[in-house]
Amino acid sequence: MAKLKTWKEIPIGGLTEAGSSARFLTGSWRVERPIFDKEKCINCMLCWVVCPDMSIVVKDGKVTGMDLDYCKGCGACASICPVKAITMEPETKFQK
């Protein structure tokens, strides 16, 4: 957590910076992690459409994976995938 600012250091009127939530990582909320199988993926982009956290990474028109900094592990991507290229695994499996 960044150091909190004094009243003299913040903008007036409660105004705040557009798009600044990108600095707040929600990945730690996850209890399940999406595992992406590039081989199975047909790049239909449905996961990219439904992801509520804008966490499907697309490069040059192809899905390359999930941004785990923000992915909350809801499973919407796995659920919509027509070819089962995404599966959900318990997050505990990845913790040391």
Binding site: T16, E17, T26, V50, P52, K72
Partner: protein, 312 residues
Amino acid sequence: MAFMLKDMVKKEWRLASGHRLCPGCPAPTLVKLALMAIDYDVVVANATGCLEVSTTIYPYSAWKVPWIHNAFENAAATISGVEAAYKALKKKGKINRDIKFIAFGGDGGTYDIGIQALSGAIERGHDFLYILYDNEGYMNTGNQRSGATPTGANTTTVPVGKKSLGKLRVKKNITEIIAGHGRVYVAQASISHWQDFMNKVKKGVEYEGPAFINALSPCVRFWRVRSDQAMEVAKLGVETNYWPLYEVVDGVYKINYKPRKPKPLEEFLKIQGRFSHLFKREGGKELIEESQMEVNRRWERLLKLEEATKQS
């Protein structure tokens, strides 16, 4: 006006990650798609609610577009002011670009506490699009019943108990109320049918004057479904005719999707925990039957309205 995914992926979402809506909540999906449906510069107003609080916890904001939250009941009045300012400043030559105006509100902020401000703004003819994300209750404050809560739902203010089966009254039909204003673009959409939704957003924004979209947006938390089921349950809403996809443009009705064989309402209800008591308790079956009849009545009426307003 089909939206091609290969074109869409080249664009940037106008809502940032790092918002704090529940995992699986489709409200941010609705927002990101709405803002991608149009290429205009846009100013957004937001009623108090889940979407508003979770996207703008100070000092963070997920909105990459100019955005204002004023209070719960006044998103439509607030955007009226923004739009009036735009008209005034454009008239005086202080602004030269085209800017569009969108307000988002939940069902509490729209069916209930905000209906007056919305009605006024539409009657006055401000050029804006109001997008209602209907999750059928006051979910931000913990599942209290609203005018949008359907018959038989278990809520915290009309809870199921020994002498209660939950809400007994029918859901208010706000889409029809707004259509009744005349000279307005009105549509009902569902997050499950996102291309249809995006088309409607584009049409609503392009329409000269007020536009309103009522979009079904399940609350995975309080509809008691899994976090990956938002799309599935919303789709069932459409397939059962519980949530018809249609438009009313200046009084002319058009049903956008007619299920070849509508599923029984039960299928929409039984996957949601908020209706589970209806399948176990005495009187539940009758309430489901009543709800099915209400769905049928509303659908039949819609078909007749489409026929009656058909333009030659």
